[in-house]
Symmetry: none
Subunit: 225 residues, 4 copies
DNA sequence: AATGAATGAGACTTCATTCAT
DNA sequence: TATGAATGAAGTCTCATTCAT
């Protein structure tokens, strides 16, 4: 999980001025997540984070003030990126006339990929771990990400229902149950994110989820078979 | 802090001589869970646990050797009690001729009660938090409890299928999806166990889960309405 | 300023029980004063104090909780011993018929010895240094020591006045001025306690002070010559 | 924070080009004294001083090199201003035929005002605090200020003695005792400069000091009454 | 068996100082 | 010249663990 992969860096190295600061900030955030995820908040040493980021310990404090703030900013950054990925997955669900089942399986698969991403698991574990000491983290994660994704999913399901391809009067419930049918079974298989679940297995789970989902919500029996 | 059931201790309880020792051990385990749950493993001080248990810090070490062992023993005791409660809930699912939907809703509701129990949430959060440092805890919780409960549920569903009341060829998948439809929606509602979910809400969730479940798995269309 | 000199220690070493704790407490207090006096409160490291006391750093915290408390307790202990010494000096001023001038010079000399004691200077410097951060220290030093000594001196002067050997209606003022005439001149000579003032010099100062004092307060011109 | 007098700067003030630089230097010195006086040398952060002066931390280092130098320069500037004020007070003691007692009380009062000035107390406290680490500060304060003031006072007393208005063969001793009778009693009353002593109280102290002083040193009994 | 006292290692955080712009 | 950013060293305090009683 080394920071600053890709193209942006080399350019930044040359524009030394303000870029250096930004780059260091990113490096620290990335390192912080790596270490928090690996060792837990309380156990994670700021020394270690600084070393992983390649800066001095005091630099971490110059940027973030204290360890708590660092944790919160780490979550904020994570939530940002997670939201983007999940919404992209949901947006695959558009009624462009294709086969409903295949489309749902595709969306389900991509949502599961988001869900099973290492960073995704790590974030959820960290959230679980620290929710007592930092209840506001839940608002970042659930309010800023999970709820919005569910809402977006409900929107798409509602449009499918309007188009007569699904039958439900409560698209939010449908979205929740769709999510549950996807994530529930992988929870056990992935051992809380400890074991990598291969894509083929994700497709199987998505397929089973869609199978059950369509039995319950398909507009026409033909599609539920 | 309810005492934990289990056969091994009752014998000890009767030996008056060892009584004090056993009591202290129990007190320490209870206190450990309370403090671990409240503050997290790394943050929890052995002083605090000892104080909560009403013993001296050194006594904790006399009994458990070190903090890691104390954590593991705490989990073992918890898992014991959780398994008992969950199995009791599953066993309500017996084909004594009653209405299928009502029976499933009853089981679902009681499973959700187990799932939403404060100690249950605390245990799962603690497990999430420490799975990197103590991977073996997962075996205790998932292997000794979750899997067994799912298996027991699958057993009961299989018997209902054999009796012609459900239609499925993969009772384990059905059990998993039933569980997912139950727990998924409450996950969001309970804010990772931070918010108490009232029984009426649990019944609503159970009912919605059973509704979808029966649409997918009911043997006769009549039962799925 | 090594702690625990003298006879009390060897006995304490053998009565291991509660004496060990007490001895360590004293050792820490002594070391704390040494280091505070040498380096100032803010600059003094608790490590250094612990090392000087021959205990582990954590032991200092076990006994005193934090550095502030350690400072206050140090002052309290110092004030105690300073009070005792000063009162002993004042008590030399008793009307047992001896020559008045000689007696006053004797008291003045012994008061100056207290005043010029290394620890005495160090305490006053430390007090000056920290009065902004710890205003309550002044109450310990001034209220518990200085004021009481002045009062005791005023008492003795009052008795001399009653006996017709001094002439004053305000013994407290007389006491204050007597003290001022003693300490004022040595202040400059001792360079804030940095330079040792030899006893002969103290006697000279005391003599000059008494000379002026008697000119102002002697009952009979004969005694003021 | 009153500006400090002194000849060296006025030249710089007129060179418009260097004006900003000089102003900043002055601002830093003023800020340094404020902060040193409030928090003590060790505790005072260079950040805080810089902020109080309205400059960047590095600017402080550009001007003064390091914190020690800053402290010394601060003392030098202070001593300058203190010397001026004290000498002005002493110069009020001139034999222009007025009543001796009134004149001494006037001088005593003005000396006490210097002595009780906030900055004066702060400087003495700071000196006490740091004399171990910076023994040379004493030379600045005692050598450059206190001794000179005492000498000047001794000079004036000597002239009064020559004029037959006082009786003493050791004017330096008389000056010291005069100072002692003034400052001694206010020391206690001002709580090391922590409490403001009102002018009326200063006049009372001056009056009592002069009363005693004249009893001891008045040339004619008439003036000592 | 239970405890009070002691400790060494390590945690977070601050701060005087320097460097490049 | 003035500054924002970075840092190494150090400081206060905590904690899991051990030892003697």
């Amino acid at each position: 999980m080394r920071p600053m992969s890709g193209a942006g860096t080399s350019a930044g190295q040359r524009l030394a001025g303000a870029r250096g600061r930004i780059d260091k900030r990113r490096a620290i955030l990335d390192a912080a997540f790596t270490v928090f995820a690996r060792e837990g908040y309380a156990q994670a040493g700021v020394d270690v984070i600084a070393a992983e980021a390649g800066v001095a310990k005091a630099t971490v404090y110059n940027h973030f003030g204290d360890k708590e703030t660092l944790l919160r900013q780490t979550f904020a950054a994570l939530a940002d990126s997670a939201l983007t990925q999940n919404l992209a997955a949901v947006e695959r669900l558009a009624d462009h006339g294709g086969e409903l089942r295949a489309m749902l399986e595709d969306v389900g698969f991509h949502l599961l990929q988001c869900y099973c991403d290492d960073r995704s698991w790590a974030m959820r574990r960290l959230l679980s771990a620290e929710i007592n000491q930092f209840p506001d983290l839940l608002d970042i994660v659930q309010g800023q990400v999970a709820d919005r994704v569910t809402e977006a999913l409900a929107d798409r399901l509602a449009r499918l229902a309007l188009a007569g391809r699904l039958r439900t009067t409560d698209p939010l419930l449908a979205a929740e149950q769709f999510s549950a049918l996807l994530s529930g079974p992988v929870d056990k298989r992935s051992r809380l994110g400890t074991r990598h679940v291969p894509d083929t297995e994700l497709r199987t789970v998505a397929s089973a989820a869609v199978h059950t989902f369509l039995k319950a919500f398909a507009a026409e029996p033909a599609e539920a078979t």
